[in-house]
């Protein structure tokens, strides 16, 4: 028997899954717990703090709304890239994948601008627990965006050779990368209101 790993591409009949799809969902489960722990920290710190930064005053809601739209759009281009991979259409695939990476880059640029502005206005992470949360949560999220961009760039360009040699495995890999990318979008969908929008008048000290 060859030492090939079964069910790398074909699905195992009783689970209906191939290894990679199962693996990425399991990994995402751990990511849910990672960001969940951060939110847990936020809840504990927020409820225990009579004075808490007002997100809308310290942060730019318009920029973050733009970023939200950017990420959502990139999720659409990502899933369209997968469709193109399933259709074995290299040009269309490259277009959508390239757009996904580009939109990710836009997100990062806006984020960098936001960070720089905070530092400029004297609100670095050490300014308050709120800013600490803001920088840490969005920073970790941005690292995930960066990771996703690198993976997507690889599949979009140097790694796209596989579409010619093993199209189904390639499409599966694109789908897997997509699952990670959508998850990153999903986290932002929660980060955005929590950090930028949910703020209340602090009671008098």
């Amino acid at each position: 028997m060859s030492s090939a790993i079964p069910y790398t591409v074909e699905t195992r009949p009783d689970t209906g899954l191939n290894n990679v799809k199962l693996g990425i969902w399991i990994f995402l489960a751990s990511e849910v717990m990672l960001f969940g722990s951060l939110f847990a920290g936020y809840i504990l710190l927020r409820t225990g703090n009579p004075t808490w930064g007002k997100g809308s005053e310290l942060l730019s809601v318009p920029l973050a709304t733009l970023n939200t739209a950017v990420l959502i759009t990139s999720s659409v281009t990502m899933v369209m890239a997968w469709v193109a991979a399933m259709e074995r259409k290299l040009g269309k695939f490259r277009l959508y994948m390239g757009s996904t990476v580009a939109l990710g880059a836009v997100f990062m640029v806006v984020k960098a601008f936001e960070y720089q502005a905070k530092f400029h206005h004297g609100a670095p992470p050490s300014y308050s627990t709120f800013m600490a949360c803001y920088f840490t949560f969005t920073g970790l999220h941005a690292l995930h965006v960066l990771g996703g961009m690198i993976i997507n760039f690889y599949f979009g360009f140097p790694g796209a050779k596989m579409m010619a040699t093993d199209p189904q495995q390639f499409a599966n890999r694109v789908e897997t990368a997509g699952l990670f990318w959508h998850f990153v979008d999903l986290v932002w969908i929660f980060l955005f209101p929590v950090l930028y929008l949910l703020n209340f008048q602090a009671p008098p000290a």
Partner: protein
């Protein structure tokens, strides 16, 4: 789906239509998320509403972009179990420290 999990062309066209509709829905909900601020709701309803909208948006991404709605039972069970533990870590610490929290301090 065949043994390799591949979809056929008819399937894909339907998928694309769904993706575009979800895209539209997500954009609308994003505007709603921001707009809700101007309602100036009190604390608890504001949090609940913001979270509800985020959950709807998140569910759209998960169900349609991540194909969760047509995904295998095993994945669904895995994610449901994860959500259960997610709420554990989310709420455990603050519930334990409730007697320490006094917002009117």
């Amino acid at each position: 789906m065949d043994a390799t999990g591949a979809h056929d062309h008819v399937d894909l066209k339907k998928h694309v239509r769904t993706y575009l509709m979800v895209f539209g829905g997500l954009m609308v909900l994003t505007l709603v998320t921001v707009g809700v601020r101007y309602l100036h709701l009190p604390v608890v309803p504001a949090i609940l509403l913001a979270l509800a909208i985020a959950i709807v948006k998140g569910s759209l991404v998960a169900c349609y972009f991540m194909h969760l709605i047509s995904e295998r039972k095993l994945i669904l069970i895995l994610m449901l179990a994860t959500v259960f533990f997610f709420f554990g870590v989310l709420l455990g610490p603050v519930l334990t420290e409730l007697n320490e929290i006094n917002p009117a301090r």
